[in-house]
């Protein structure tokens, strides 16, 4: 019986729990939802209305001009200027005015009496008729008017198109993949062999080595940066190659991921049934065969768990990428590109939101499709014996 059923019997009001959880979930999803919705919104709407209003039409005040004197026509006793204030833009006029202090003085579709026999009517589709008993003289550039324009919600892929091609996010996406794929696969193999040796082979110093691995899990990355940066520069100079290369970052990520990888895999491999391994030994199989033919296939769940960890870690990392790959534009990974955009495009939310969503898309896909393994890995890594 689950804890829930136990509590239900104790009698905690069910409705309150349901509602509270609903509120919590809403709070947790809302931030991501905001960015997600915003990334599809039209740039102009995004800047004038909150994303929570994205599905209703947004209304904003605009200034415009009526047609100039050369459009004036005579219509019976009246002098008329007519046209369309929206000039082909989307949206509809809900109100208009002639003074900045009262931009919504008249409703669309009504005729406003402006005095001296001058009248102005603007319809919601933007068409207007400006009439006077005497010829218009005062204004060569056309009369100033103010409009309340309601624009229907516009959703677009333009933001994504722009960031992928114009802002270098497309290139960064490729860079992130270039870093993440090898940096996920290489440590698995290295760690699996080590984990096997630490579980099923006896040698001097095994306990000590295991303790060291456990200790290294929590060493702050910051402790490694300065000496490694110097080392990379020295090696680069010595070999005459650039010091910031993909190979360099693969190795760095591999090494930084190893302690946790060895620990996780060792915990799993040591728990495999002893009988299988010993009967294989009796049959004359060496450690290499036992490892490749028995242990590796059986350890698939643990390998998958670690692979997800490592992939998410590498994909989401900023620090290691900045130090070992640098901040040159052509080598920026997604997190680095996003960080740079926050500096250069601080207020352009159409760019930031689309870029952010591109960067979190892959981890979210991985997360939702492989959540089971992720949870299993977390539990193996932290609850052991707890």
């Amino acid at each position: 019986m689950s804890i829930g059923k136990r509590l239900a019997r104790i009698g905690l009001p069910r409705l309150i729990v349901n509602l509270t959880v609903l509120v919590v979930v809403a709070l947790w999803v809302m931030p991501t939802l905001g960015i997600f919705v915003s990334s599809f919104r039209d740039k102009d709407q995004l800047t004038v209305s909150g994303w929570w209003t994205a599905f209703s039409s947004s209304e904003r005040n605009e200034a415009g001009r009526l047609g100039a004197l050369d459009l004036m026509k005579q219509d019976g006793p009246l002098y008329v200027i007519s046209g369309n204030v929206l000039e082909g833009k989307p949206g509809s006029v809900s109100a208009f005015g002639t003074k900045a202090v009262a931009p919504r003085a008249y409703k669309a579709g009504t005729e406003a009496d402006l005095g001296d026999g001058i009248k102005l009517a603007i319809n919601s589709d933007g068409s207007y008729r400006y009439t006077s008993n005497a010829p218009f003289t005062e204004d060569n550039t056309g009369r100033r008017i103010y409009l309340a324009v309601a624009t229907p919600p516009v959703f677009t892929m333009t933001n994504y198109h722009n960031v992928l091609t114009g802002e270098g996010i497309g290139q960064s996406f490729v860079n992130s993949l270039t870093v993440a794929i090898p940096a996920t696969v290489i440590p698995i193999l290295v760690a699996a062999f080590a984990a096997y040796a630490l579980s099923w082979m006896s040698f001097k110093g095994r306990t000590l080595l295991l303790a060291a691995v456990v200790g290294l899990i929590v060493v702050p990355l910051q402790m490694s940066l300065i000496p490694l940066l110097r080392l990379y520069n020295d090696v680069g100079t010595f070999l005459g190659v650039p010091s910031k290369t993909y190979a360099g970052i693969w190795l760095a990520h591999t090494a930084f991921g190893l302690p946790l990888a060895i620990y996780l895999l060792r915990n799993y491999i040591v728990g495999l049934p002893k009988e299988i391994i010993e009967s294989a030994r009796v049959d004359g199989a060496g450690d290499f065969e036992i490892f490749t033919k028995i242990v590796l296939p059986l350890s698939f769940p643990a390998l998958a768990s670690f692979a997800i960890f490592q992939f998410l870690w590498v994909w989401n990392d900023l620090l290691v990428a900045m130090v070992f790959l640098g901040t040159d534009k052509d080598k920026l990974v997604l997190t680095g590109a996003l960080n740079a955009l926050l500096g250069s495009r601080g207020g352009n939310w159409e760019i930031l939101s689309a870029s952010a969503f591109v960067s979190i898309l892959v981890p979210l896909l991985v997360f939702f499709s492989l959540q089971r393994y992720l949870v299993r890995g977390l539990l193996a890594g932290s609850v052991k014996g707890g």
């Binding site: 019986m1 794929i181 940066l225 090494a255 900023l318 997604l334 926050l342 930031l352």
Partner: protein
């Protein structure tokens, strides 16, 4: 671009192949060099030698990488922290003296302590509460999965997400940041949240709490399910209230797991860097050690001595947890 992906894939394949070849070839070489044939004495001696060498063939790459990338740098950073900005001249403890008197460093220590006091506690608390509440719901797993989701999002991505929430437009304008919109809706003044000293730390902490609560929830949820049925039955029969059962029966039984979650998040908090860098870069009194250290690594050509001294402070801060982890792991391994 495509060629870059292709080369990444090729590297992956080559890397795996090289690694596999290393393991295969060294093992073959060992078997050939020390044959188990011939007279009994030599053969058995060879077998013993093989058994001594083979573990190190398996461990070789891992040990090598760990040594170069973690063990050596830890020692080197310690040493560098006693040297000047170019690592040329020995300066004794003057980097540490500088740190003790530097306003930025003191601010960072203060903020780090603030983070340490708030974030692990908040994550564990919310994680536990959500774990208990979702456990009885038919849609509990769905709810949990949504609360867990931010775990997949990078700190930088999360920073963009939350910067949008804290977005500020001048007074009288339409606020597109939801926090200011809510404040304005209730008649308050919009604020530049990230520039309010002291409190802005909490606005940054919210991001990490948002990310890490899911982690705490998942682990505590599993621990709650492991509580033996009988203990709760007994409490119910004795007439304990739900509240009492939670605090006096459930929580004590998962105390070990709570401690694990707490320490794991503590380590993460000590190293928090990306959030501060992207949200404020330490402005408005939000500096933390990891970001300060990063700054000193590069600013004005970099000062490796001061930077290393800050890293050492971080290292010292995690050491108690490291020792505790090793002890626990050792006890666990004795059983095997």
């Amino acid at each position: 671009m495509l060629s870059q992906i292709v080369s990444a894939l090729i590297v992956m394949v080559v890397g795996v192949f090289v690694a596999a070849a290393y393991f295969y070839l060294t093992n073959r070489a060992l078997d050939l060099a020390l044959p188990d044939k011939g007279d009994v004495v030599t053969a058995s001696r060879n077998l013993r030698t093989r058994a001594m060498i083979r573990p190190w063939l398996f461990l070789g790459p891992a040990v090598l990488l760990l040594t170069i990338y973690l063990v050596y740098p830890v020692i080197a950073t310690f040493i560098l922290s006693f040297y000047g900005r170019d690592a040329q001249e020995f300066v004794g403890v003057s980097n540490y003296i500088w740190a003790a008197t530097d306003a930025g460093f003191r601010q960072s220590i203060f903020n780090n302590i603030l983070w340490l006091a708030v974030v692990p506690a908040a994550c564990t608390f919310f994680g536990l509460v959500i774990a208990v509440m979702t456990d009885r719901l038919p849609w509990g797993n769905f709810a949990k999965s949504l609360v867990f989701m931010p775990m997949a999002i990078s700190f930088v991505g999360a920073s963009v997400i939350w910067k949008f929430i804290y977005d500020y437009r001048g007074e009288g304008q339409i606020q597109i940041g939801i926090l200011n919109a809510i404040v304005q809706y209730f008649g308050g003044q919009p604020e530049v949240w990230l520039a309010i000293p002291f409190w802005n730390n909490f606005f940054l902490m919210v991001i990490l709490i948002w990310i890490q609560t899911g982690f705490a929830m998942v682990i505590l949820s599993a621990a709650l399910r492991g509580i033996p049925e009988e203990t709760i039955e007994a409490a119910v029969i004795d007439g304990a209230s739900g509240w009492q059962i939670f605090w006096k029966i459930m929580v004590p039984q998962i105390w070990g797991t709570i401690a694990t979650v707490w320490t794991t998040i503590t380590i993460l908090v000590l190293k928090v860097f990306d959030i501060v860098l992207t949200m404020t870069n330490g402005q408005w009194n939000t500096e933390v050690l990891a970001n300060l250290m990063f700054g000193w690594m590069f600013q004005g050509g970099g000062d490796s001595g001061r930077s290393a001294a800050i890293a050492v402070v971080l290292m010292i801060a995690v050491t108690p947890i490291m020792i505790w982890n090793i002890r626990r792991a050792n006890e666990e391994m004795k059983g095997r």
